[in-house]
Amino acid sequence: MSSEEPIQLLQGTLDLIVLRTLATMGPRHAYQIATRLQQVSDRLLNVNQGTLYPALVRLEQYGWIKGTWSLTENNREAKFYAITKAGLRAMGEETLRWKRMAGLVERLLVEESQS
């Protein structure tokens, strides 16, 4: 598989990326989040920006982020999402879970290549 091909998002990855984005960069609107997504993934996650919306509504329904209408620096209206306290907590847990998972996969792969 060539490394340039876009990869499929694992269930839950998108949520975690969104949460981390909002946690480190502060309130952001959907376009900014989508742009950020493309940047961090080095364009590996080349998806339509519209596909971000289900993740946003899901996170909002969990109560992990909250959207409010506000103005951009260019005076355009946009819905800005901010991470909530519950969101920060959830992000901690999710991050831990992902690290464990990644460690596990890593170990498996290493063992496999040794045997």
Partner: protein, 901 residues
């Protein structure tokens, strides 16, 4: 927690839709605007930027749909959509909707009503601790095999079982009856009583609400009589007096002190002494109100081979099964028979309490439930056909849905939702009807059916109704719904709808529906006519006695004046009372004769004894079982029972009353091949061993119950006068005028005695077959509904198929077909499914018949009248239903029919 929060949010997502949608559109618009701005900044023209923004964003509608899917519960949203759509569609065809909802409401209402009775009487567990482990014990004797399946319990045998059993946790012995409760300033009235070993309520797991339970010390000879009251009895007899504990009242012959009150809703069931006895004595079933301690008599403590007088209720140990208990108790009984050197071989009959109490009525109730279920089934078949036609009419819509990408399940659900909506509406209306239906059933149902006061529309019943509605919806909706899955869009979109409806497959489906309907109806008709014929045999047979123009008054002498223990020569006192009442009744206007008997006629076999002959000793096992009655000389003439040999009792026998009349059956069974007149019998009069001479033989009669002829022995009341006697007055006057006069005459002699029953003998006769009549009435109304539904169903199917073939008939006529040929065409189309259905129905009825044979009275193996009549009825209905569509087919105007398309 977060998941719950999200679930709630998604549920709300189903409703607050408009605001969310607006917000979403706004957000997408702003997103696009921001994108566009960036692209413009990168040097694109306005148009290019807009296109680039769109491209980067992806499909707007797609994004919106993803958002919707994520924010709400998709299947629920679809279901709501389907429901809204169904309701709109149903509104468009009010005729169909009304018929469907009415059919369902009546069907579900009827089934739910019958189920309420089944639930209350048969299914609802008793309000005792772990009621599933309560059992009723009766004894059996190998020597009685073929004569009596089970007999009541002997006290000593009970004690043996209770002490030695390892499968029983506990056992209680009891007797049930009725006693006269005196109330100041009024004549006494009857209340139901239980006298039990003091452990009864501990065994049942019930603690008194007030006061204390019965104690072992209450059940020793000489102890003061103390009683518990049922909550309901406390309310009705003592107005719920909170100071009741310690108060005394007089009931029967003695004074009793109240020591406790049971909690509300504790109803102790009537347990039959032996399986053949009905509870019409003492004027119908009453919930026991007064619970006293049973004190075994000297005789109970000594007797081993007689006095089988009691009922035993027991609780199985946890883990012990009925089978284990039966095996163990049988073993104990066998061992006891040997060790006590009994002349008989004892065994045990054990049955779960709930089953035992309702054994007489359960088959009849299940039959009614099955019958009413059949009616609902027929209604559902009708609706299935209507739905099928609607599905066909809606095929284009279905095809469009399929063409637009709806999958099979979605198509089926879209159609099935309509049926579910109808069933929900019908079910709701049905439950409302069931409240009235239960009341109607309770008015019809005979009062001797146990646990009737526990019948109500409660949660289990409502749950049942909900399940039933869903089930009906699936029943009548699934077939049409499944068909819509197999619709090939292109053919439907091209063809006209009547051609799509008239495929061979759909014709077969309609024929099958019709056949199913006919089969159901045939079974119902045959079952009903068999029950009807059984009932008419019961009523029209020769009973051997005449109940017309006779009024019966039952009198109960259980007052201190007639107390065996306190009054010397109580027989003389009872005799004096009886003679004075007899004389008083004879002087009433219009009276032709007055008879006396010790058992109210038509209340089952009571006072069953063995016929013992001093001159002709036979082993106990071979002695016939006889019903003993104490009567006066006018008894046989009052009841119009003819004398066939010897002479009747006469006043001259009074001084030397050791004589008896026997019935023909007794003569056959007890004196085979002999002339019984002049022969001796013994051991029939309580506490007396005079040999008794047979002086006459009377004809057999069904005086104990219309279903059997018992062996009777009639002894003069001079030899022994019972505490409970029935005066039978034959008079030219109407019972209405006679009854108050009879009551006055009796209470003139002694105002303290109770009169539990006073009614015309014809009413007593009618009451004795009340459960049969109830079954006949209800079944007949179900069968009639089934016929009407079948008529509507057959007509509906044929009329519909004729309407589909309108054009074809036009062409046929145009080509010279005769009208009669067209009519035949339609009738032939009806004939096949009707005949098929009848065949299936007949087969099913034979299966049903084997199951219900025991419920029928003297049913012949084959009842051609019942079966022929039922077939005639269904054929008549089928012809009536078919003739109209057939005529319609024959009267098609070819010009018009051809012009339609």
């Amino acid at each position: 927690m977060n998941h719950l929060r999200r679930f709630v949010a998604r549920l709300f997502g189903l409703f607050g839709n408009r605001r969310i949608e607006e917000d979403l559109s706004r957000e997408i618009a702003s997103h696009l605007a921001l994108l566009e701005e960036d692209f413009r900044r990168q040097g694109m023209t306005a148009d290019e930027a807009r296109l680039a923004a769109r491209r980067t964003y992806g499909g707007v509608e797609h994004a919106k749909q993803l958002h919707r899917n994520e924010r709400s519960i998709l299947w629920l949203e679809r279901t709501l959509q389907n429901i809204r759509f169904s309701i709109r569609q149903l509104r468009k065809s009010p005729g169909f909707t009304t018929v469907a909802i009415l059919t369902l409401a009546l069907g579900i209402g009827a089934v739910t009503s019958v189920f309420s009775v089944v639930n209350g009487v048969l299914l609802k567990p008793f309000a005792f601790r772990d009621p599933g482990r309560l059992v009723v014990l009766r004894e059996t004797q190998d020597e009685l095999r073929g004569k009596a399946s089970a007999i009541p319990d002997n006290y000593r045998h009970y004690v043996n079982l209770k002490q030695n059993s390892k499968t029983l946790e506990d056992a209680a012995v009891l007797g049930q009856g009725a006693s006269s409760l005196s109330s100041p300033g009024d004549h006494p009235h009857m209340v139901g009583t239980v006298a039990s070993s003091p452990n009864l309520f501990r065994l049942l797991g019930v603690r008194p609400m007030l006061g204390r339970d019965l104690l072992d010390s209450d059940a020793v000879p000489g102890a003061e009589s103390v009683v518990l009251l049922s909550y309901e009895g406390w309310q009705s007899l003592f107005q719920g007096n909170p100071q009741i504990i310690g108060q005394s009242f007089r009931m029967g012959m003695t004074t009793h002190t109240v020591v406790g009150v049971l909690p509300p809703g504790i109803r102790f069931p009537q347990i039959a002494l032996s399986p053949n006895i009905t509870f019409q004595e003492m004027g119908g079933t009453r919930d026991p109100v007064v619970f006293g301690a049973f004190v075994p008599s000297e005789r109970d403590l000594k007797t081993d081979d007689g006095d089988f007088n009691y009922k035993v209720i027991a609780r199985l140990k946890p883990g012990a099964t009925l089978e284990q208990a039966r095996a163990e108790l049988n073993g104990l009984q066998h061992a006891y028979s040997l060790s006590a050197h009994l002349p008989v071989h004892l065994g045990i009959a054990i049955s779960p309490l709930a089953q035992d109490v309702t054994s007489g009525i359960s088959a009849a109730l299940w039959l009614l439930l099955a019958a009413v279920g059949g009616v609902l089934l027929i209604g559902c078949v009708n609706l299935a056909h209507l739905q099928l036609a609607r599905t066909t009419a809606a095929m284009r819509e279905t095809a469009v849905r399929a063409a637009l990408g709806a999958n099979g399940l979605q198509l089926v659900m879209a159609r099935l939702t309509e049926s579910l909506v109808l069933a929900a509406a019908g079910g709701l209306a049905g439950v409302a009807l069931a409240f009235a239906g239960v009341r109607l059933l309770l008015a019809l149902v005979p009062a001797n059916v146990p646990r009737l006061n526990e019948v109500q529309v409660n949660w289990p019943v409502l749950l049942f109704a909900a399940g039933l509605s869903t089930f009906s919806a699936i029943l009548f909706g699934i077939l049409p719904a499944l068909r819509s899955m197999r619709v090939p869009p292109q053919t439907v979109l091209q063809a006209n709808s009547s051609r799509a409806a008239n495929t061979r497959e759909s014709r077969h489906t309609r024929s099958l529906l019709m056949a199913a309907e006919v089969a159901c109806t045939v079974v119902l008709l045959i079952v009903t006519s068999l029950v009807l014929r059984s009932f008419s045999r019961l009523l029209r047979q020769d009973r051997g006695f005449d109940s017309g123009q006779t009024t019966a008054a039952q009198v109960n002498l259980l007052t201190p004046r007639y107390d065996n223990d306190k009054v010397k020569n109580v027989q003389a006192v009872k005799l004096d009372f009886t003679d004075r009442v007899l004389a008083a009744l004879q002087t009433l206007p219009g009276v032709q004769s007055v008879g006396i008997t010790s058992a109210m006629p038509l209340t089952g076999e009571t006072w069953v004894d063995q016929l013992e002959r001093p001159d002709h000793p036979v082993p106990e096992a071979e002695r016939p079982l006889i019903n003993v009655r104490f009567v006066n000389p006018d008894y046989v003439s009052t009841m119009h029972i003819p004398l066939v040999a010897g002479r009747n009792l006469s006043p001259d026998d009074r001084a030397n009353p050791w004589v008896a009349l026997i019935s023909e059956k007794t003569a056959r069974d007890g004196f085979p091949g002999e002339d019984p007149v002049g022969r001796k019998m013994q051991g029939l009069v309580p506490d007396d061993n005079h040999p008794i001479t047979v002086i006459g033989v009377v004809a057999d009669s069904k005086i104990n119950g219309l279903k059997n002829t018992a062996d009777m022995v009639y002894l003069p009341y001079w030899s022994w006068t019972p505490w409970t006697l029935t005066f039978l007055v034959r008079s030219s006057q109407s019972s209405d005028a006679l009854m108050p006069a009879m009551r006055r005459a009796i209470w003139n002699v002694d105002p303290e005695v109770a009169i539990p029953t006073l009614k015309p003998m014809n009413e007593q006769l009618s009451d004795s077959v009340a459960s049969d009549r109830f079954q006949v009435e209800v079944l007949t109304s179900f069968a009639a509904s089934a016929l009407v539904l079948a008529l509507m169903g057959i007509y509906g199917v044929l009329a519909y198929s004729v309407s589909l073939r309108h054009q074809e008939f036009g062409i046929r006529i145009a080509l010279g077909s005769k009208k009669s040929a067209l009519m035949q065409l339609v009738l032939r189309q009806a004939a096949f499914p009707v005949l098929l259905g009848t065949g299936v129905g007949l087969t099913l009825s034979f299966v049903a018949l084997r199951w219900m044979r025991s419920m029928l009275y003297q049913a012949p193996n084959m009842d051609p009248v019942a079966i022929g009549g039922s077939l005639l009825a269904i054929f008549a209905v089928a012809i009536v239903a078919a003739i109209l569509p057939a005529r319609h087919a024959a009267s098609v105007d070819p010009m018009q029919a051809l012009r339609i398309q």
